[in-house]
C-alpha cells in the first residue's frame, strides 16, 4: 500500500511551474488521486444528499420566482409570489402568526424542559434513570400515538377531559376543544410539548454524564454553595456543545409544526385557528398544485428556520464566556 502510494506520487508528479512549485490545478489533481478512496466512500451518500436535500432547496428558491403548475412551462414572475404572500394572502399571515406564536412558546419551553428533566434524571441511580428516560422519551418514539389526545380532548362527553371536568362539576356541558379556535392552539402546543422530549433530551442526558465529576468537587472547594450555582458555573458551560446541538433540533421542530395540528384540529382547521406555514405550504403544494407559490412559502420557511437557528447558535456560543 505504502509502496504503491509512493509510486503514484512520483509517477504522476506534476509539471513544475517556473517557480519550481506545482500549480494549483496539479495540486488539486494530486490530492484527488490520493484521496480517491475517500471520495468513493462518500459518494453514495453525498449524491443522494445532493439530489434530495441540496438540489431541492436550490430549485425551490428558483421556482419561487415563477408561476408553475407542473403542466405548463414555468413562467418568470419576479417577486410577485412574495408580494402576494405578504400583502394579499390573509391566510398565510394567520399561518405565519400561528407559527411564530407556536415556536416562541414551544421552542424555548421544550428546550428548557429537555434540559431540566435530563438534569433531574441525572441525579437518580442508574436503574431509575434508565426507566425515567424511557418514560419521558416514549411519546416521541411511539410513532403517531398522539392521536390519543384527540380522544382525550374529544368534543363529546366521552372525551376524558370533558368527562373529568363534568364529573367534578367544573363544566355543565362538553366543550368542543378542537373545534374552538380559543383552545385549539393551546392544545396543539401541549401535545407538541408532550412529543418534544426527543433527540435533544437524549443528547442532554448523555452530555450530563460526560461532565467531569472532579469539576464539581473543585467547585465546592472554590465556594460553589448550591445546585443552582453548580448548574450555572459548571454544568452548563461544560455542556455547551450538546446545548447547541439540542437547540438546532428543537428550533427546527418547533417551526415545522403541522402533523399534530392537522391530526388534531383537522385541515383546514376552524377559522384557520391551527393553520401554520407548513400546512399552508401543503395546501398550495399538494392540493392546489401552485408550485411557484408553494415554493415561495417553502423559501420563507427555509429563511425563517435557518435564520433563527444561526441566530441562536451565535447567542449560545456566549454561554459561560
Amino acid at each position: 500500500m505504502q509502496k504503491t502510494e509512493m509510486v503514484n506520487k512520483t509517477g504522476s508528479r506534476p509539471k513544475r511551474t517556473p517557480a519550481g512549485m506545482p500549480g494549483k490545478w496539479e495540486l488539486f489533481v494530486r490530492d484527488m488521486k490520493r484521496d480517491k478512496h475517500l471520495y468513493v466512500l462518500l459518494s453514495p451518500y453525498m449524491l443522494l444528499f445532493l439530489l434530495f436535500t441540496v438540489f431541492p432547496v436550490i430549485i425551490s428558491i428558483f421556482f419561487s420566482f415563477t408561476n408553475f403548475n407542473m403542466l405548463e412551462f414555468p413562467q418568470w414572475v419576479g417577486w410577485e409570489n412574495y408580494s402576494k404572500l405578504l400583502w394579499n394572502d390573509d391566510v398565510f399571515l394567520i399561518g405565519l402568526k400561528n407559527t411564530i406564536i407556536f415556536s416562541v412558546v414551544t421552542g424555548p419551553i421544550s428546550y428548557i424542559a429537555c434540559f431540566v428533566f435530563a438534569w433531574l434524571i441525572n441525579e437518580l441511580n442508574p436503574k431509575v434513570r434508565a426507566f425515567m428516560t424511557l418514560i419521558f422519551f416514549a411519546p416521541s418514539i411511539s410513532g403517531n400515538v398522539f392521536f390519543i389526545w384527540q380522544i382525550i380532548f374529544s368534543g363529546d362527553s366521552y372525551g376524558i377531559m370533558n368527562g373529568f371536568l363534568m364529573k367534578t362539576g367544573i363544566l355543565y356541558e362538553p366543550i368542543l376543544w378542537l373545534q374552538d379556535p380559543k383552545y385549539m392552539l393551546a392544545i396543539i402546543m401541549l401535545v407538541q410539548l408532550w412529543l418534544s422530549l426527543g433527540t435533544s433530551f437524549l443528547a442532554f442526558i448523555a452530555g450530563l454524564q460526560t461532565v467531569d465529576r472532579t469539576l464539581y468537587e473543585a467547585g465546592a472547594i472554590d465556594g460553589v454553595q448550591n445546585r443552582w450555582q453548580e448548574l450555572w458555573y459548571i454544568t452548563l458551560p461544560s455542556m455547551r456543545p450538546q446545548l447547541m446541538f439540542g437547540a438546532v433540533i428543537q428550533i427546527t421542530a418547533s417551526l415545522a409544526v403541522a402533523e399534530v395540528a392537522t391530526a388534531l384540529a383537522g385541515f383546514p382547521s376552524v377559522q384557520y385557528g391551527a393553520h401554520t406555514i407548513v400546512t399552508h405550504l401543503m395546501d398550495y403544494g399538494t392540493i392546489r398544485f401552485e408550485m411557484g407559490y408553494a415554493s415561495a412559502i417553502a423559501t420563507v420557511l427555509f429563511g425563517l428556520m435557518l435564520g433563527s437557528n444561526l441566530l441562536v447558535q451565535k447567542l449560545l456560543k456566549r454561554v459561560g464566556e
Binding site: M1, D31, H37, L42, P44, Y45, M46, L48, F49, F52, T53, P56, V57, F63, M70, A113, F117, L120, M132, T133, L134, F137, A138, P139, S140, S142, N144, F147, I148, Y158, G163, F164, W194, T199, L202, A203, A206, G207, Y216, N226, E230, M239, R240, P241, Q242, F245, V248, A256, A263, L281, M282, T286, M291, A294, S295, L301, L306, N309, Q313, K317
Partner: protein, 287 residues
C-alpha cells in the same frame, strides 16, 4: 442505613429542594405516561367499558376482542391489515439498513481524514439540520415524478438513506476512534475500504443502534405522505388514521393499532438505550 444514605449524599444538595424537584419530576412523568397508559388500557377494554361515563383510565375486564376485531374488520376490507404491517416493516427495515451503511461510509472520511472539501461538506450537513424536510417537500415531489418513483416504496426509502442527522451523529461518534488504531491498520497494509469495514464499523456499533432508533422515529410513523397513493402500498400509520376517523365506534380497534405501533419502537429503545446514550454523548456541536 441512615448513615450510609447520608454518606452517599452528594455535595451541594439540600433534601428540601431534592423532594420538591422529584415531585416535579414525578408530576411531569405522569403527564408523559398517562396518555400512553390510557391507550394501552383502551386496547384491552371491552366495548361496554369504552363507553362508560365518566371515562375510566384503567381496564376492569381485559379482553383481546379489539385485536381480533382489528384483523376481522380489516380482513374484509380491500387491503388486509397484515399488508399495512408489511409495508411499514419493509420501509423501516430497508430505509434503516441503507441509511446505516451509506451514512457510516460517508461519516468515516469526514471524521478521520482531511481532504479537499471536507469542511464544506460537513458545514452543509450541519446547515441541513437547521431546516425540516417540509422545505424540500415540493421539489422532492417533482424529482420523484421525474424519476417515475411516485407511488412506490423507493420514494420513501431512498431519500431516507441520505437523512442528515444520522450522518452527523455517526461522524461525531467516529471522531473518538483513536487515530493510532487506524494508523496501525494502515501499516499492516489495509486499504481504506478494509479499515472502514473491519476496524471502524465494529467500533461504532452503539451508533448503529442510535441511527436505528432515529430512523425508526422517522420511518415507522410515516404515512407515505403525498408520495404513495395506492392503497396496497400504504403504511400502518395511514391505516390507523383511517380507523380513528371511524370515530368513537372504532375507539377500541384504534387503540389496538396504536399499541401494535408503539410496541416495536419502545422495545427497540429499551434494548438499545445505553448504546444510544453513549452515542449521544458525542453529539455536541463544536463551533
Amino acid at each position: 442505613m441512615k448513615i450510609a444514605l447520608r454518606m452517599k449524599r452528594k455535595i451541594n444538595r439540600s433534601w428540601q429542594v431534592d423532594i420538591l424537584l422529584f415531585l416535579l419530576l414525578g408530576g411531569f412523568g405522569a403527564f408523559m405516561a398517562v396518555p400512553l397508559i390510557y391507550v394501552i388500557n383502551n386496547a384491552f377494554k371491552p366495548l361496554d367499558e369504552l363507553f362508560i361515563f365518566p371515562p375510566t383510565l384503567f381496564v376492569r375486564n381485559p379482553t383481546f376482542e379489539n385485536f381480533s376485531d382489528l384483523f376481522q374488520v380489516m380482513k374484509n376490507s380491500w387491503v388486509p391489515f397484515s399488508r399495512y404491517i408489511f409495508n411499514t416493516v419493509f420501509i423501516t427495515a430497508a430505509g434503516t439498513f441503507g441509511h446505516i451503511i451509506l451514512a457510516s461510509a460517508a461519516a468515516y472520511p469526514l471524521a478521520k481524514h482531511k481532504f479537499r472539501g471536507h469542511k464544506v461538506l460537513f458545514t452543509v450537513i450541519v446547515l441541513s439540520l437547521m431546516f425540516s424536510p417540509h422545505v424540500t417537500a415540493i421539489p422532492n415531489y417533482m424529482i420523484m415524478s421525474t424519476l417515475g418513483w411516485l407511488d412506490s416504496y423507493q420514494a420513501i426509502i431512498i431519500p431516507a438513506f441520505a437523512y442528515p442527522l444520522g450522518l452527523y451523529l455517526m461522524k461525531q461518534f467516529m471522531e473518538q476512534i483513536p487515530d493510532a488504531l487506524l494508523e496501525a491498520a494502515k501499516m499492516d497494509g489495509a486499504s481504506e475500504y478494509r479499515i472502514f469495514i473491519q476496524v471502524v464499523m465494529p467500533l461504532v456499533k452503539p451508533a448503529w443502534l442510535t441511527l436505528l432508533i432515529l430512523m425508526m422515529q422517522m420511518l415507522w410513523g410515516t404515512d407515505g405522505g403525498s408520495f404513495i397513493y395506492s392503497e396496497q402500498l400504504k403504511t400502518m400509520h395511514y391505516a390507523m388514521g383511517q380507523i380513528v376517523q371511524g370515530g368513537i365506534a372504532r375507539a377500541g380497534v384504534g387503540a389496538a393499532v396504536a399499541v401494535i405501533m408503539m410496541t416495536v419502537p419502545i422495545v427497540t429503545f429499551v434494548l438499545s438505550q445505553s448504546n444510544v446514550i453513549q452515542t449521544m454523548a458525542s453529539s455536541g456541536m463544536k463551533d
